[in-house]
Symmetry: C2
Subunit: 365 residues, 2 copies
């Protein structure tokens, strides 16, 4: 691995840690953060680890006005042997740059980003929770910082990584959720920013999510923006269906985010010789499959929940129940396998786990 | 007018002003800014004017991750009698709240916002440039500030107003621009956030703008996201065409921003008894009208340029020239009338101009 120079400025005072057995998602942050600046003409510069601290930005900084930003999300797990494992982190850095490209943000050296992430985790290692189901959520993100009100790509950026210890996604084990199909609001459309992890997509999703919650549904099923017919994603997850023995998921059509969990599930199914297809799937087809008694399972995939089984859909004034409202067999098997690989308790035939070596934190005394 | 209590904290040291005869757009900011906070359970609180200064935000503040934000843009003009005029500012505050609603941001008291804006302008009155064609650009905006990584509406916000003296949009008089029609990238789609002034729309537009610039075009003509056929907007402006004596503009279809200049142009045309229609317009129709010798003028409308005449379109490998590449008669007449009303040199039959009274800055000593 290439050697990178990252300056480290340790915090003079460590924070009090929250109780690891009762962590809320994304509310607690560790002692340090990684930061690197971009200046046009100079490129990315001054990679450094500093105490977790507020950002001071001009009120005209472009991030506050034109939303030019991207982010990633991945997790570090503590194994029973006290090793630290990352799950396919190079995929996140690759996607970060794909998002950057769509948003006109200058590319980041993926190896440097990965190295920085490992250094930061090493330094804040005692923040990785050790309770069953917990992990350290990692949030790399880029924001545009030039103080300028013209609509144009920013000439200055910050790349930052923050870390947050998070609790088990399912407090009482893996449980199916109820999903409302969204007909009015659209998450993304071909030619838009749906394939990138950028703030605007999530801002756009809040309204539909709010409406779904009001009617007792926990997530939104997004249909395509052109015909409002084809299934795209569920909440902030990709979606899979098991229909008559075959597993199907919407193909990457230019508006869906290419999830790393999605990719891993596809690999796993092929490895298991379970028939699987990426293709266009209409909501009508799903309702028809249910009517025909062929809709066996449905689940969302994403870093936060890994696998999120779906127990009910609501669309066009009709409710359908899936797998009798309980977690399907295949959903459970995928969940156990993936979380097993992530935590180092199951074999990893794909080489997906990446260890954070203590010695890699070379600059840290 | 209702009385509002706004605390004023004056800057101890006024900044050096830039030369008013050579101002760039959105690069210089005045001595003060308005700020107000929202906290769930408490509502909007602590409206105040403070010295222009950096914002200090937690790196987990939601604006950096999920783009929940809205903004507005309007201008103040100095008349030859040294009066300060705003152009239909209540419309901007109304639209701010429409944007807020789409983005799940709590509503702001429009009267308070307008009062705050006037107070701020009064205080920084000597920043309004007096050179021909210049003005004071006003940028109200709302950002989500809760430090939380869950995808949900923020529980904390800041509403801020900053001011920027800006130069004449056309340095050498009103001049037609060349426009590339965009087939691949989409600005917005029905069900998305196109009708709201939110950062994500502008982030999404950068890529196409970059491509247009590379081929020598100054702006992008956006087509609809569903069929890539119907004309929506041009750059960050609404668009009008004069075809065989009739003026047409795309109807408000759920993905177009409802521009205040657009609305004013429609009113003006009706007042002048010029036939005008809001309807669906395909790019094919425009090319056909050109082929038939009936496409007389085309222009964009927006706060920044007021009227931006279009001299050329490029689409499907075909260039067409409009009005012989020079500014059309009607475009020029609308431009002169609107800027005349804005600067107080022309009659204002609609009551669009709003004076900023010196005495309104009651709290200012
Ligand atoms: C919109 C969206 N779709 C899908 C996913 C799933 O991606 P991954 O499996 O990489 O976490 C995410 C986020 O994580 C997402 O934000
Ligand atoms: C996308 C977009 N369309 C149109 C307009 C024109 O609106 P207005 O005339 O209110 O300035 C603007 C901005 O000002 C805009 O950002």
């Amino acid at each position: 691995m290439t050697e990178f120079k990252i300056e480290i400025n340790r915090t003079p005072e460590k924070k009090q840690k929250p109780a690891f057995d009762n962590l809320e998602f994304g509310k607690n942050f560790t002692d340090h953060m990684f930061e690197m600046d971009y200046t046009a003409g100079r490129g990315w510069h001054d990679p450094r680890i500093v105490p977790y601290q507020p950002l001071s930005l001009d009120p005209a900084a472009m991030i506050f006005h034109y939303g030019q930003s991207v982010f990633e999300g991945l997790k570090a797990y503590l194994t029973i042997d006290k090793e630290v494992l990352l799950f396919r982190p190079e995929k996140n850095m690759e996607r970060l740059n794909k998002s950057n490209s769509r948003l006109c943000i200058p590319e980041i050296d993926e190896e440097l980003a990965l190295y920085a992430l490992k250094e930061l985790i090493s330094l804040d290692r005692d923040w990785i929770p050790n309770v069953e189901g917990t992990s350290l959520y990692i949030r790399p993100f880029v924001i545009s910082t030039e103080p300028y009100l013209g609509v144009a790509p920013s000439k200055r950026y910050k790349f930052i990584i923050i870390l947050s210890p998070v609790g088990a996604y399912y407090k009482e084990g893996i449980n199916p959720v109820k999903i409302a199909v969204q007909n009015e609001y659209v998450r993304a459309v071909k030619g838009g920013t749906g394939t990138a992890k950028t703030g605007g997509n999530y801002a756009a999703s809040l309204k539909a999510q709010e409406l779904a919650s009001l009617t007792g549904y926990s997530q939104v099923l997004w249909l395509d923006g052109k015909e409002n017919k084809y299934i795209e994603e569920v909440g902030s997850m990709n979606i899979f269906f098991k229909i008559n023995g075959e597993v199907v998921t919407p193909e990457l059509n230019g508006s869906i985010l290419e999830g790393i969990t999605r990719n891993s599930v596809l690999e796993l199914l092929k490895y298991w010789d379970i028939p699987v297809a990426e293709r266009r799937i209409s909501i009508e087809e799903i309702y028809q499959a249910h009517a025909d008694g062929q809709l066996e399972e449905a689940f969302g995939t994403g870093t936060a929940a890994v696998i999120s089984p779906i127990g009910e859909f609501f669309w066009d004034n009709k409710k359908i129940e899936i797998s009798g409202g309980i977690t399907g067999e295949l959903s459970k098997k995928i969940y156990d396998t993936l979380t097993g690989i992530q935590k180092g308790t199951a074999p990893d035939p794909f080489g997906w786990s990446v260890k954070v070596e203590k010695k890699e934190a070379a600059g840290i005394k």
